[in-house]
């Protein structure tokens, strides 16, 4: 379980560029939930994810993961509980390391690293097995440099890396946004499959309202650094994009004028 309470964060405090990114954001994600997060540009989606991961420190508020207060912990100390896939396919893997070396880095996520060989023989079976589930033929290319793979392949491997060891929450930061539609659909299917099979708790940020409703078990919309609505279960079933927009307008009493919300 992960819970964020009243998170507040302002970038560039005291400067003309002062930008309040989070204004009292609160959200609790229960074990096994798959939450999709939507919101217009500047709603605070990425900042929220970065705050959960530890890449940015909040000014105030509290983040609790599995009953441990992680609010002040840096990224690397949260890594044992928090797994992450980035938007940029190049960001989640190291291009000049081989596929097996990337996987070996991930299999030790959040654990002590010693002086024994990083790529151990006993890992190879597991690596091949999980790679073959991607159906990309990567299981026979363990020694290849990551940089030889396409964006979609790299994103699929990133997803695999994030699920190689157990985590309390998987953060997906618009991880299909930089891919072409076909590859994006493949990576999204893979995401659902992995989350379902391993019963992961996940938080997925997306730009597409359609995607947000089709995937996962709960949808949260952010606006101006706050949660404006949160729907799950029966209320969410059969909901369409236009219903979502209606809900948003009713909640806030304002007109949505951002085209990006209507896309998808």
């Amino acid at each position: 379980m992960i819970s964020a309470t009243d998170l507040r964060l302002t970038f560039g405090k005291g400067t003309p560029l002062e930008n309040p990114a989070l204004r009292g954001m609160s959200l609790t994600v229960n074990q096994g939930e798959f939450v999709t997060v939507i919101g217009s540009n500047g709603a605070g989606k990425s900042t929220f994810l970065n705050a959960l991961a530890g890449e940015v420190m909040v000014d105030s508020g509290q983040i609790i993961v599995d009953n441990q207060d992680v609010t002040r912990l840096p990224t690397y100390k949260r890594a044992a509980r928090v797994a992450r896939v980035f938007q940029d396919p190049l960001a989640g893997t190291c291009e000049n390391l081989s596929i097996e070396e990337n996987l070996a880095l991930a299999i030790k996520r959040g654990q002590r690293r010693g002086l024994s060989a990083a790529v151990k023989r006993q890992y190879l079976g597991q690596f091949r097995e999980s790679l073959s589930s991607l159906k990309l033929g990567l299981e026979s290319r363990l020694g290849d440099k990551m940089g030889l793979l396409s964006g979609g392949q790299r994103q699929a491997v990133s997803l695999l890396m994030a699920s190689l060891t157990p985590s309390s929450i998987l953060l997906l930061d618009e991880h299909t946004a930089a891919l072409d539609p076909k590859t994006a659909a493949f990576v999204l299917d893979l995401t659902e499959q992995i989350i379902e099979e391993q019963k992961l708790t996940a938080l997925m940020v997306t730009h597409s309202m359609k995607q947000a409703l089709e995937v996962g078990s709960r949808t949260v919309m952010l606006h101006q650094g706050q949660v404006v609505f949160d729907i799950a279960g029966k209320d969410r079933e059969g909901l369409e994009v236009k219903d979502l927009l209606g809900l948003f307008e009713k909640q806030r009493g304002l007109q949505v004028d951002d085209d990006s919300l209507l896309l998808g």
Binding site: E55, A79, A83, T93, N96, L105, R113, L115, A117
Partner: protein, 300 residues
């Protein structure tokens, strides 16, 4: 042509600069941390070893202390960068400048002669080898052992974490790697190797001098870049081999240049030759692909 003495001399210093190149490989290539501390940690290693030898220490123990001193110097640079957020290049320049004073303090004078002291080389002269071959033999062993240890380290869990830190720090953090700690460890390791090189250099040349570090960074870089032009560093072992090969080629090239009377070069031209060689090593691989491109274009 090159005399036998000049040839062995070039091999001897080439092997020592191979160790420097290992250090520069770790900082510049693995960590992407441009570290100039080496200009200070090379004479630091020499100074520590020389003073301890004068005190009658065991030569290997004295050399070990030189390594530790180099590591400490590297750690200072990295801590200035990681903990105090000083730009990496500037942090290393600060340490390098500070080390000049530190080295003078350690030695108590600008230079120390070691001609009569027992060094790591002393027992090896009893083997019956030619006088000029002895240092080469010992340094081949030292470089070989360092290469194997470094290779194993880079393939270990910690070594892989260090490589990830330099290649993609954001990803490394997300995998739970303390990137700051990895930079401190890596830069310390790098300067430890340079300290070792300085200690061995002082013992083979029979003196430690406070100015002997000037330009070590350029020579190390020349070795690294030259080696990479000869052996493509696609794997760790190839990159490490490139360091050694590059350093030896570099010293041989210098020896040839100084020995060829037609060129009319003298010892004081050394730095100019170094700069020219480094420029060539950087430019040549590009020229090679340029020529290749021209040929393929003609075909098409």
């Amino acid at each position: 042509m090159l005399s036998e003495i000049a040839f062995y001399g070039a091999l001897e210093t080439g092997l020592i600069y191979g160790l420097v190149a290992f250090g520069i490989y770790i900082s510049f290539r693995v960590l992407d941390f441009p570290d100039l501390t080496v200009d200070g940690s090379f004479p630091l290693g020499a100074a520590v070893a020389a003073v301890l030898l004068l005190e009658g220490w065991n030569p290997w123990l004295a050399t070990g202390c030189a390594v530790l001193a180099g590591m400490a110097a590297g750690a200072v640079t990295a801590i200035l960068n990681v903990k105090l957020n000083i730009l990496n290049l500037l942090a290393s320049i600060l340490t390098m400048i500070a080390l000049y004073s530190v080295n003078l303090r350690i030695m108590g004078r600008p230079n120390i002669a070691l001609l009569t002291e027992e060094t790591v080389l002393t027992p090896w002269y009893d083997l019956g080898l030619d006088y000029h071959q002895v240092p080469v033999l010992l340094f081949v062993i030292v470089v070989f052992v360092s290469l194997i240890l470094l290779w194993r380290f880079m393939k270990s869990e910690t070594g892989l974490a260090m490589r990830a830190t330099g290649a993609n720090a954001r990803m490394a953090r997300a995998q739970g790697i303390a990137t700051g700690g990895m930079i401190i460890l890596g830069v310390a390791l790098s300067n430890g190797l340079v300290g070792l090189a300085g200690a061995l250099f002082a013992q083979s040349q029979g003196a430690a001098d406070v100015t002997m570090g000037v330009g070590v960074i350029v020579i190390g870089l020349a070795s690294l870049i030259g080696g990479e032009a000869v052996i493509t560093p696609s794997t760790v072992i190839r990159a490490l081999l490139a360091c050694v090969i590059g350093a030896i080629i570099y010293r041989l090239a210098i020896a040839f240049a100084l020995n060829a009377d037609i060129l009319g070069l003298q010892a004081q031209d050394l730095n100019l030759i170094t700069a020219v060689l480094v420029t060539l090593a950087i430019v040549l691989p590009g020229v090679r692909t340029n020529i290749a491109n021209r040929f393929t274009r003609k075909k098409a």
